[in-house]
C-alpha cells in the first residue's frame, strides 16, 4: 500500500516537473498579480482599496463604543494618521439571537474605514462596505444544527441541576457558590466534546453550501489634515458567489472591477476580472479547475486556465499546488506552476 502511495507521489512530482518544462515559464508571483481574479470579497474593503494591512484594527462591539470611537476619530475636525476601523451596523440593533435571525443581513454587514498618510503628507482615505447577501453556511441560521445544540444544552442543564439536588441543603452556607461551581464545572468537558463533534460534522457537511457576498470601496485623497479638499480617486467592487455542485463539488465565481484616476487626473482608468473555479472533494482536500480573465484599460486582457490540488495541512493552514496556462499582453500561451501556502484564522 505504501509502495503504491509513493509511486503516486513520484508520478505526481514527475508530471508537475514535466509540465513546468513543456511551455515557457513565467514568474508565479507575477502571474498571480496579472491574471488571477478575486474569488472572495475582502473582509475589509477599505483596507484593500488603500492597499494597507493594518496591524491594529479598532472593532467597537457596542453602539456606545461606536459613538465614542467615531467622536474621538474626528476630534478637532482632523483626519487621523494611519487608522483602521471596522463596525457592524447590527450592533446598533438589540444584541439578540432572535434579532440576528430576523435581520442577518444587517448583522453580517461590515463598514470599514481606513486612513494612510503618504510620504508627501497627503492623506489617503478609504471607506468600504461588505455585505453577505445569502449564506447557507451560517451556523446561527441552521435550524437542524440548532435543535441538536438545544438538546445538548438541555443535557448540560439537567446535569447541572443534579448539583442542586446534592447542594440544596447547603444553600445558606458561605461556600455554597464555590461548591455549586465545582460540581457544575466537573460536567463541562463531556458537553464540550459533544458540541465539538456536532459542529465539525455540520461544517464538513456544509462545506459547499451556497453563499453570495459583495463589497464596495472608495478612496479619496486630501492634501491637508482637515480633509477640506477631499477628492475621490478610485472606486472598486467585488462580487463573489459559491454554489454546490452535487454532494462533493462546488463552483465559485468572482467578479471584481474598479475605476481610478489616470495621469491626467481623470476617473477613466478601469480594470476588471472574472474568475470561475470548480472544486471536487471534501473540506479537507479538493481538486480544482479554474479559468480567469483580467482586463484593464490601455492593456490587452490576460487569460489563465489552471488545474490544481488543495490540501488542509492543519487547522488554518492550506497548501495548494497548481499547473496552468496563461496568455497575457497579446503573447502566446505560456505554462505556469505554483505551490502556495495560505493561512487563515484557525477555527
Amino acid at each position: 500500500m505504501r509502495l503504491l502511495r509513493n509511486a503516486k507521489i513520484q508520478f505526481g512530482l514527475l508530471f508537475f516537473a514535466t509540465w513546468a518544462n513543456l511551455f515557457p515559464q513565467i514568474n508565479p508571483v507575477d502571474f498571480l498579480k496579472k491574471a488571477k481574479a478575486d474569488y472572495a470579497v475582502h473582509d475589509a474593503p477599505a483596507f484593500k482599496i488603500l492597499q494597507t494591512d493594518p496591524t491594529s484594527v479598532l472593532r467597537p462591539t457596542s453602539s456606545r463604543e461606536v459613538a465614542v470611537t467615531i467622536a474621538n476619530l474626528f476630534k478637532g475636525g482632523k483626519v487621523p494618521d494611519n487608522y483602521a476601523l471596522e463596525i457592524s451596523p447590527g450592533l446598533l440593533l438589540a444584541n439578540s439571537l432572535d434579532n440576528y435571525k430576523k435581520n442577518p443581513f444587517f448583522y453580517r454587514a461590515r463598514i470599514s474605514f481606513a486612513t494612510k498618510t503618504m510620504e508627501n503628507s497627503v492623506k489617503h482615505l478609504g471607506l468600504g462596505v461588505r455585505l453577505t447577501l445569502y449564506d447557507d453556511t451560517d451556523l446561527r441560521l441552521n435550524n437542524g444544527y440548532e435543535e441538536i445544540l438545544k438538546k445538548i444544552g438541555k443535557i448540560s442543564n439537567d446535569l447541572n441541576s443534579s448539583c442542586a439536588d446534592e447542594l440544596a441543603a447547603k444553600i445558606a452556607d458561605d461556600n455554597f457558590s464555590a461548591l455549586l461551581d465545582e460540581c457544575m464545572e466537573a460536567k463541562k468537558e463531556y458537553i464540550s466534546k459533544k458540541i465539538n463533534a456536532i459542529r465539525d460534522s455540520v461544517k464538513e457537511k456544509n462545506w459547499n453550501a451556497p453563499i453570495v457576498e459583495m463589497g464596495f470601496a472608495t478612496s479619496a485623497l486630501s492634501g491637508d489634515s482637515l480633509a477640506k479638499s477631499l477628492s475621490a480617486n478610485s472606486y472598486q467592487f467585488w462580487l463573489s458567489a459559491a454554489l454546490p455542485l452535487g454532494k462533493d463539488g462546488q463552483v465559485v465565481a468572482g467578479l471584481n472591477g474598479g475605476v481610478s484616476k489616470n495621469d491626467r487626473d481623470e476617473l477613466k482608468k478601469s480594470e476588471g476580472s472574472l474568475g470561475v473555479r470548480g472544486y471536487y472533494g471534501t473540506n479537507k482536500q479538493k481538486l480544482f479547475l479554474e479559468a480567469d480573465i483580467k482586463a484593464a484599460s490601455e492593456i490587452l486582457p490576460s487569460y489563465s486556465l489552471n488545474i490544481g490540488y488543495e490540501y488542509n495541512l492543519m487547522n488554518g493552514v492550506w497548501a495548494d499546488i497548481s499547473l496552468g496556462l496563461i496568455k497575457k499582453d497579446g503573447s502566446k500561451f505560456v505554462s505556469s506552476s505554483s505551490l502556495n501556502f495560505r493561512f487563515a484564522t484557525p477555527e
Binding site: 445538548i152 441543603a169 457558590s177 455549586l180
Partner: protein, 132 residues
C-alpha cells in the same frame, strides 16, 4: 469556571403573583432550566425549560407571594458557541410582583466572554424568595 450568582429576593406578603423573566444579550445560543424548590428542601415543585431563540417566550409564573416565602428559584443556563468563534453574553433574571420589578430582583451573570474553542459556559442564578 461556572457562573454562580446567589441572592435573596424580597417580596411583599400579599396575594400578588410573582413572575420571573429571563433576558439574554448575546448572539450565542443559551438554553436554560428553571426549578422552583420548596423551602429548606430539595423537592422540586415545578420545572421549565427554554432557550433564547425566541425573545418573547421566557416569562414564568412562580406563584402567589403569600405562599412563596423561603422557596428557592434555581435557573441553570448553558451558553453554547454555535460557530466556534466565541462571543459575549449576559443573562439576567427579572423578578416581578404584580408586574412590577421587585427591588433587588435582578440576578445577572454580568457581561462575560466565551473564547474561541471554549464551546460553552454554564451558570446558575439562585434566588431565595423572602417576605419582608
Amino acid at each position: 469556571m461556572a457562573v454562580v450568582v446567589k441572592k435573596h429576593v424580597k417580596i411583599l406578603p400579599d396575594d400578588a403573583v410573582i413572575t420571573v423573566e429571563l433576558e439574554f444579550d448575546t448572539l450565542l445560543l443559551c438554553t436554560y432550566k428553571i426549578q422552583l424548590r420548596e423551602k429548606n428542601s430539595n423537592q422540586v415543585i415545578i420545572s421549565w425549560f427554554g432557550d433564547n431563540s425566541n425573545d418573547e417566550e421566557d416569562k414564568y409564573v412562580i406563584g402567589i407571594a403569600n405562599e412563596s416565602d423561603g422557596k428557592t428559584v434555581w435557573i441553570f443556563f448553558t451558553v453554547i458557541d454555535q460557530t466556534g468563534e466565541g462571543g459575549k453574553y449576559e443573562v439576567r433574571a427579572l423578578f416581578k410582583q404584580n408586574g412590577k420589578l421587585i427591588d433587588d430582583g435582578i440576578l445577572s451573570s454580568g457581561s462575560r466572554i466565551i473564547s474561541p474553542g471554549d464551546n460553552l459556559q454554564s451558570g446558575a442564578l439562585v434566588a431565595i424568595l423572602q417576605t419582608n
